[in-house]
Amino acid sequence: MSDGGTTMARTAPGTADPVKSLLHRHRTLCEDAVDPLEIAAALEAHGITDKAALARFRHRDVFALAEELYARVPHDTASAEPAVAAQTTGAKRLAPWMLVTPLPGLVAAFTLFLLDRAGGQTRLGVALAGAVALSCAVAASLRHGPLRAEGRRAPAVRLWVYWLLAYAVYGDGLLTAHVEGGSGPSWSATPTSLVALSFAVVPAAWCAHLFSLRARRGLARSRGLADFTASTRPTLLVAVALYACALTGIALLVPPLFHDVHGYGGALGVHGLHGFHDGGDPAHVAALGTLLLLARLLTVHGRPGAAAAGLAAACAVEALASLSVLVSGLPGYAALGTPVAQAVHAWGAGAVPALACGAAAAGLLCHAAVSLARASAHT
């Protein structure tokens, strides 16, 4: 049908091919169209009716005309470049999360500083206020930016996280106190590990940002799902490794920083009175931080169940370790406490949670290396 029309149009003496001029006018439209019906709809929107198609362009109707136009234009489907360019330009501005993420670290450090200064009754107040401010700051930094996970939360995650953090502060002291058989009530706390973890929100956000940015670029660039997985998995590992390094650095830096303060405070008699420990085991802090980051990444990318499971496993190991030490004090159960006691004697009190968190983090890392490298995790 359309063939007849075009030959007529071409052989008509003295007239140019009318379809050609139409084609020239709607060139981009015809090149972009994915099928003839799209051209037909657009032609109708430009006011070309069946009657016009018959009278001016010598085609049976608009559909035939559209088919002719579609057939005449080469369709280039392999142009991925514009999408990539559009994706990358949007990410250069200063986002609110970049300003918010240092807040938890600053709040925690300031609180610790005040705690050192304060004495007696005000300490409890300062500690409570600091804890509230810290959780607000953490919540704010998790609500914006790359660590945001709206509507993808497993119910018990918050409980596990609080338990892990509480252990990070008090667990080492408790364990040491019981294993060494010291005087009961005076546990020493290690708030510096909490400060280190609070400061680690910054590298966590940046590493998550790096990962999501690279993954999004990979989405635009990869031809197939296998390509994407192959390119994203190393990115994830690099991001997590970067974070672990940064966190270890922070964990090593923070305690000496506050040790000076303690020393100062200690001269005033604050340190000795209230029993601050020297600072958490850096390995423990690094393992816990990595575990938390991986759990958050998994939650952000739609795997909250796995994240909760990893955190719960770490909690369970820590709880069991503490329990075994506590129970070993009872007559007849002394044997239960020996493995933990030996570990504490050999590597220090921080080794137990470091092992627990490290193992959980390794498990989550394996899971993440599979599930976060998939394209479906990056919607």
Binding site: D35, L37, E38, A42, A45, L219
Partner: protein
């Protein structure tokens, strides 16, 4: 005669700000001797907040479901469900990517699709319909389609379909981003599959006699499934073809600059869905010949197509039309929303030529600028052009002059009612370059006014020889036609009277409602829902004479045998309906024959 109709709407009735609201409302109110169950899909949270209109008593219940919110899942699939899911999605995706999808009917006959058991390895493998119904059955049994369509499994299936031999060239280059976006869109489009409307209990889609979908888009999906699961016949009404709207929406870039493979996938999916809807529907009623052409093009069988013109609220206009007055012979009136597609520039140029011949002529342009797009700017442009073409004129040396072209708001002081504007017109002019269904032209016909319009959209079909039609973008032709009418009072009167009677015959609400009433009866008489529970007695033995013998006779009997039909379709005891439910659950969605 009593028919229970399941009216499935998409973003329209009964929401207060729905777009197809008015005609659905008139239909429901007009058919007060039938019963309606309204199944409404809402498009946005804003629409849902706008509330529901008060339905008349013949609407038994209103079910609503949000299409904009993700469906809550019942959890992830197990291994077997995942394999079934991949198999069905693979079929659907292969059909969408298939190069020949636009031309063939691979889906097979109605009976073929109805009897196969979905999960098996049937002969219709690779077709859109079997994949779609397979997914629907899976969603009905296990839920969880939402999560599954966003999983890696779905992406892999889509990728392999795009890379399969025989896939069309435009989708072969689909990158990961395209696949993700397509899976996302697919999940949105298939949300009606996850609804809890599909049962035969009171209020379920299985309990109605006819399912009436108001578009071939998402609203038709519940209808398709009701047809598939319970054999409920489907009627599809489209005033604007959904597929065409999809093309225009992507063309206007409303969904952002998306890449060619994604657009190709989406277009192919919507095309296949429309084709399947037209295939499964017992009757398709386009609103005009233009929609009808598109539907034919998308694979609708001509025998099923029946044009039903939209009915219009016309009492005020009819009063004017019944009167003897033929209006002021020196006044041209244009009515509509002022926007570039209406091409007022051509109208003004034509008016300039008219005034050369008849200097006393005036023109009234009644309408508000459309609030969206460049309506206000276009109005300003037209005002400036009018001021340039026609200097202000005064009756005498001491009178204040005014422009022969006046721009008036509809409902303004000059014409408090739109009908008054038409009443004062000698000729009503329509100069659009692009037009769908020309509402102002029909209103002018109701008012019995002679009209001159451009040949666009459904104009010729509407006017049908009772007014003059000229090519678009042709001021000279428009002016000549107007001059010819202005000079001939008798001709204007004759054309006006003819237009009036044509409009009364074709475009009244009564006509529209009567057409749908006839359509319902025809469908019910030709394809009655055969419910197995009504043919089976208490002990499972066949019940003699449960279905009237006429049911099996392929003739029109709706008008006569009302009692027989009522016994088949409507007056089923409650216990029988419950038994149907059990039977349907056991029968895995096959037709309950």
């Amino acid at each position: 005669m009593f028919v229970r109709i399941g009216l499935v709407t998409d973003g329209g009735y009964p929401y207060a700000n729905g777009e197809s609201g008015p005609w659905c409302d008139r239909l429901v109110r007009g058919l007060h001797d039938h019963e309606f169950d309204v199944y409404a899909l809402s498009r946005s949270a804003r629409q849902e907040r706008s509330g529901l209109v008060d339905p008349p008593p013949q609407v038994r219940r209103v079910h609503t479901a949000p299409l904009w919110a993700p469906v809550d899942d019942k959890g992830a699939y197990g291994r077997r469900e995942r394999r079934r899911f991949a198999e069905h999605l693979g079929r659907l995706a292969l059909a969408v990517c298939d190069e020949r999808a636009g031309t063939d009917e691979g889906a097979g006959t109605d009976e073929g699709a109805g009897t196969d058991e979905g999960a098996g390895t049937d002969e219709g493998a690779g077709t859109f319909a079997s994949g779609l119904y397979g997914l629907a059955e899976l969603a009905r049994e296990h839920g969880g389609l939402h999560a599954a369509l966003r999983s890696e499994t779905a992406l892999r299936v889509l990728e392999s379909a795009c890379r399969a031999p025989g896939a069309r060239r435009s989708v072969r280059g689909a990158a990961v981003a395209d696949l993700l976006a397509f899976a996302h869109e697919l999940e949105r489009a298939l949300r009606p599959l996850c609804l809890d409307w599909y049962d035969t209990e009171e209020g379920g889609l299985g309990s109605v006699d006819v399912c009436h979908a108001t578009s071939a888009g998402p609203a038709a999906l519940p209808g398709l499934l009701a047809k598939r699961f319970f054999g409920v016949p489907l009627l599809v009404t489209e005033y604007g073809v959904r597929l065409r709207a999809h093309y225009l929406a992507t063309d206007a870039g409303r969904e952002g600059p998306s890449r060619a493979p994604l657009r190709a996938l989406l277009a192919a999916f919507h095309g296949s869905l429309a084709a399947e809807v037209y295939r499964a529907a017992s009757l398709v009623t386009p609103g005009n010949a233009h929609a009808r052409r598109w539907q034919e093009r998308c694979g609708a069988d001509r025998a099923k197509l029946r044009t039903v013109h939209p009915g219009m609220e016309a009492e005020r206009f009819i009063e004017v039309g019944e009167g003897d007055d033929t209006g002021d012979r020196d006044t041209l009136v244009w009515v509509g929303a002022i926007e570039p597609a209406k091409d007022l520039v051509t109208l003004l140029h034509a008016f300039a030529q008219i005034r050369k011949e008849r200097p006393r002529t005036r023109m009234r342009i009644v309408g508000a600028p459309s609030t969206t797009g460049d309506g206000p700017a276009y109005l300003a442009h037209c005002r400036a052009l009018a001021a340039q073409l026609f200097p202000d004129e005064a009756a005498g040396a001491y009178a204040v002059g005014e422009n022969p072209v006046s721009f008036e708001e509809a409902g303004g002081p000059e014409s408090p009612e739109l009908a008054d504007a038409y009443a004062g017109a000698g000729i009503v002019v329509l100069s659009s370059a692009v037009e769908g269904f020309p509402v102002s032209l029909v209103e002018a016909m109701f008012c019995g006014r002679a009209t001159v319009s451009t040949d666009v959209g459904a104009v010729v079909e509407v006017i049908g020889g009772t007014g003059l039609v000229v090519p678009a973008h042709n001021p000279k032709a428009l002016a000549d036609a107007c001059l010819g009418l202005l000079g001939d009072d008798g001709r204007r009167r004759r054309l006006g009277a003819a237009a009036h009677s044509r409009a009364l015959e074709l475009f009244t609400i009564r006509q529209n409602v009567a057409a749908f009433r006839a359509a319902y009866l025809e469908i019910v008489s030709h394809t009655p829902v055969q419910r197995v529970a009504q043919a089976v007695g208490a002990g499972g033995a066949p019940l003699p004479f449960a279905a009237a013998a006429e049911v099996h006779v392929p003739v029109r009997w709706a008008a006569r045998a009302e009692e027989a039909l009522a016994s088949v379709s409507a007056q089923a005891p409650a216990s029988a309906r419950e038994a149907v439910c059990a039977g349907a659950a056991a029968g895995a969605g096959g037709r309950d024959v």
